[in-house]
């Protein structure tokens, strides 16, 4: 394949964040956009994630963006003009509180969400059981629920952006890893890949969990690292075993049934850590500790799933930032070097974050506020606070 040595912008990373950024850059107005991916599209975190999305956040900015993402997911194929079914399924997140303190937080969240047009509500036990019959949550204090939250297929959604981007002329180079950058004083001049260089004055680092490493290639300190999270999936079974996203922040678990019939279940590493070693080693292994721990949760929470068989387990990296919030913007040190990292919610934020970063690059301003996400906040001692994360 021929190699073009220049571009108006180069996006690094073919996950949801990068693919969406590349698509909107081209759509909004740049002529020549290239995306480089060291492996294949959707091979990073995006292809390994749970692909759930929600507006049930605790911070106003996250609620605004979460809502915008849901609006977009509801019409994504149309919006992108591709003939692909992202297998959207919306039957809400049922968030479970096990302590009064958590439930107090849910009350505040729901109040704020309602004031912003997100019609979430607090539920008691019998209402929760109506939404997700047969679950064992007698030890819970209360619940919150928003019916437009949901999930989709992460790979197909990522590939839908890939097809749409390719369709409007974005060059997508797979098996192309960035190994360095060309820098001239305080401006970026190009990327160096293992297949050759591309000169450009605009780079978007959308390498997700690897964004810190990619930043380091330009001599920058981008505060992102990877943390391994695991997931397991069962054989497909009859519909209705867990028809909503059942999720708790403390203890940290989530489980849901895909329209296709499989049950997915996952949790963060802190509870099954034991001897399993560091979780930021970028190794996508799968551990028995996780499987045993997670099966325990499902066994307890969904008694009727006990006889269902687990067919596969895998892991991916969360793109972790110091306050678990997005890191987005142009570097203060290197002009033309942009970062678009989600803070471990890149599936749901990708479509909107990608568009906002593209708007900022092409137009200089955005239709939704993202400036707060610039990582200079850390140097200024400001951390964003989001109560609704595990």
């Amino acid at each position: 394949m021929s190699w073009k040595k220049t571009a108006d912008a180069v996006v690094v990373g073919g996950g949801m964040m990068g693919m969406a950024t590349a698509y909107y850059l081209k759509k909004i107005g740049l002529k020549d956009v290239a995306l480089v991916e060291k492996n294949t599209p959707a091979s990073g975190s995006t292809g390994r994630c749970a692909a759930s999305f929600r507006a049930q956040w605790g911070g106003a900015l996250n609620i605004t963006l979460g809502k915008a993402c849901i609006d977009r997911f509801e019409h994504l194929a149309e919006h992108l003009g591709v003939d692909m079914d992202i297998q959207l399924y919306q039957n809400g997140y049922l968030l479970v509180a096990y302590t009064e303190r958590q439930f107090e937080q849910f009350k505040k969240n729901v109040e704020l969400q309602n004031s912003m047009g997100v019609t979430s509500k607090l539920l008691n036990h019998s209402e929760a059981l109506e939404i997700c019959p047969g679950i064992e949550v007698s030890d819970a204090v209360g619940f919150s629920y928003y019916k437009r939250d949901g999930h989709a297929d992460p790979m197909i959604t990522n590939f839908a952006y890939c097809e749409a981007a390719r369709g409007i002329g974005v060059r997508i180079e797979k098996f192309t890893g960035v190994v360095g950058f060309k820098v001239d004083c305080d401006s970026v001049r190009g990327v160096v890949t293992d297949r050759g260089p591309i000169d450009t004055d605009t780079v978007v680092n959308a390498a997700g969990p690897w964004a810190g490493r990619v930043g380091a290639l330009a001599g920058l300190n981008i505060p992102v690292k990877g943390e391994r999270h695991e997931l397991m999936v069962t054989e497909p079974v009859d519909w209705g075993v867990c028809p909503t996203m059942l999720m708790s922040f403390e203890p940290d678990y989530y489980m849901f049934q895909r329209p296709h019939g499989s049950i997915l279940a996952g949790c963060g590493p802190s509870r099954y850590r034991r001897e399993a070693g560091p979780f930021d080693d970028y190794q996508m292994g799968a551990s028995w500790n996780f499987m045993e721990h997670m099966a325990g949760h499902v066994n307890k929470l969904i008694p009727r799933a006990r006889g269902v068989r687990i067919v596969r387990q895998w892991s991916g990296m969360y793109d972790i930032t110091p306050d678990l919030q997005p890191v987005i913007g142009e570097s203060d040190e290197l002009k033309g070097f942009w970062v678009n990292v989600s803070g471990a919610r890149g599936f749901m934020f990708g479509p909107v974050a990608g568009e906002m970063v593209a708007e900022k690059i092409v137009n200089g301003h955005t239709s939704l506020p993202i400036d707060e996400f610039h990582w200079r906040r850390y140097a200024e001692g400001r951390f964003l606070v989001e109560p609704s994360v595990a």
Binding site: N158, T234, K300, V311
Partner: protein
Amino acid sequence: MANGETENDLRGLNEDDSIVCRCEEVAMSEVRKWIAGGYDTPDELKRLLRVGMGPCQGRGCREIILREISSMTGVPVSEIPPGRIRPPAKPVKISLVARDYTGGDGR
């Protein structure tokens, strides 16, 4: 059904219609369409079409898909990144894995 019709049906049976992945019911034509579109690794095809994601975890289709990619792209099978085989080796019941689970602090 008359004899002639049966023969016609058999002759009309194209390899394109045959099911590559029986767990997820994916036809060869579908696989070929995406390989032609540039999705020419087992990992990409798996993520697009779910081939190999069902209960047999690719035991039935992995070889067929590798051969098809090779014949369409001209890349020898040995040079195609084969994709990962993930645990467990055999489907296992949730209750069985959870058997020794004590609850701990993880509820």
